[in-house]
Amino acid sequence: MDAPRRIASPDQRFLGILDTSPFRVAIVYSIVFACGAALLLGIVDFAVSRVVDRSSDDLIDAEVQGLREQVLVLSRSDFIELVEQRSQDQDVRGAVYLMVDPQLRPVAGNVPAWPKTESDDGKWIQFKAAVPFGDETREHEMRARRFKLPGGYNMLVGHDVQERQDVKNLMMRGLIAAVVLTLLLGLGGGFWMGRRILAQAGAISAVATQIMRGDLSQRLPVRDADDEINTLAREINTMLDRIEQLTLGMRTVLDSAAHDLRTPLNRLQATAEGAMGQVIPGSPERRVLERVTTEVDHMRATLDALLRIALAETGTVAREAVDLSELVASMVELYAPVSEERGIRLESAVASGAQVQGSRQLLAQALANLLDNAIKFTPDGGHIRVLLKSQSAGPPSAGPRSAGPPLAGPEVIVEDDGPGIPADKREAVLGRRVRLDGTRNVPGSGLGLSLVAAVTKLHGARLTLDDAAPGLRVSLQF
């Protein structure tokens, strides 16, 4: 299997996966899911803390209310004792009390110091306080309410909310982890699906390339599954069966047409040659017979050219690896003496190592037609230049035929300094049997460039005719 233009480095393959639609879909979905997870956890967190906060706040409010009532009926020392008692009470976990004198020195309670937070009487405050925890102490978050006691004393009643804070933190961490995990899973899943799709698409495009190169027996790989890609592949394969039948049908028609034309021509040739042996050389009868065989030769040449064009257009010609460098060099070598004879300088610059997939004979015929044309139309003492560039450099030259995908294969250029072809006639000469005015005295079937065009198309190459100023510049970009 050959798809030299598609071989990608690992980097390119990685970027290729990022470009696949499943990967993009996966990314979008994982972002949506991550946002959903974040929102859900946020709502849960908000609701839970509201319920918990409110219930503990209610407890504190009740305690504050109780103490306010007690302070009115108890003496200071009794009240201090009450506060101490409640502070020591192990049943009420997390309850904090602090009573301070007007200088804010602690008098009773289980909080070591009055918090530095400024707050008005009766307001909720949030502060940190050291709490004994086994042998050491820990800073805990407290939520409390303060109120004034008679005699400039102040009282703080609150609750240790550190545990709740811990739960909240845990939830927050869980939330972040969930979001990150969702994103990672989405990314991984997208990457995996992207690779799968890319592998399938790669297999399909490799087969498509081979089919376009003329191997009509190729079919898309179908796996034993009923997913949409396999269904699509099966349908395309059915279509390919049909195309193959049609193309082979065309080939059969072409073969029988060839047979039905060549057989009578052969009879004509045989009859004429046979009769020639029975007449005296130089007699009028002999001249007529010679004329007949010459015409048969012309018809054969035209028929050969037409059949080659038709064959190239059906795309059923067998392909092989063709050493384009060797081919171009040997064609130049074949035509060099005949152009020298005409005083034409045939120059060439042939890059080595250029290869294409195709038909060597048809490519040779196309090059021969270009060189035949160049020699025919170049004046004595002119120049013909044949170039083979192994890789195209820069954008393809502008022209009506240069539309289409960029081609990066070798490029063959044949330039002459003959009369050239006017810009408005360049399209037309590639059609069947167009001979420009003033060239009718030059021998030829008029199919030369049509054959070049058909062969170029067969090889997936691009044919461009340009002004060589002066002359014609023909480029075959593979």
Partner: protein, 227 residues
Amino acid sequence: MHILIVEDDEVARDYLAKALREVGHTVDVAGDGLKGLHMASSIAIDVAIVDRMLPKLDGLALVQSLRATGRKLPVLILSALGEVDDRITGLRAGGDDYLTKPYHVSELLARVDALARRGESGNAESHTKLKLADLELDRITRRVTRNGKKIELTAREFQLLEFMMRHSGQVVTRTMLLEGVWDYHFDPQTNVIDVHISRLRQAIDKDFDKPLLHTVRGAGYSLREDE
């Protein structure tokens, strides 16, 4: 030489048989593939000319069956098909040469001759030295001398001369040269081969009395020693 023609087109077959007899060959004819296969396997034949499309048994199938039985006789396939890669399938089936219709009888005679001689001289290809009169060619050292004098040739001229020497005494047509030396199968519109031959002639014949490379009018060229 004994030649078998397997061809269903009567006009072409009769003329071909006549032309071959005129140059001194013994000719047998068959009008269909089965008869052709039977004759080819039972009669001592030097060369078979087989049309590709035949009634009863296709020309390619005929050649394949012949090869399957181990018969090595040279076969020239005649074809009226579209060409290009039909030639390859023809040669793969076991044909030794391939000619597309319509053909000149001179072309066919030259090819039949070449096929027959190839069978005759056996391993002319394996000889390292080729010799014709005072012209010598060494395929290993790639040295060409005439009358002991070294002749400078380009690589292509050497190949051309080698091909001509392997077929010395025979008529070699332009298409045979294009196929044998360049491996191309088309008819160039210009006289490319003639110019190559005239250069070769310059190199090997110019300074010598007796020319060896002769033009055969209406057919091609021949490298031979004139009596």
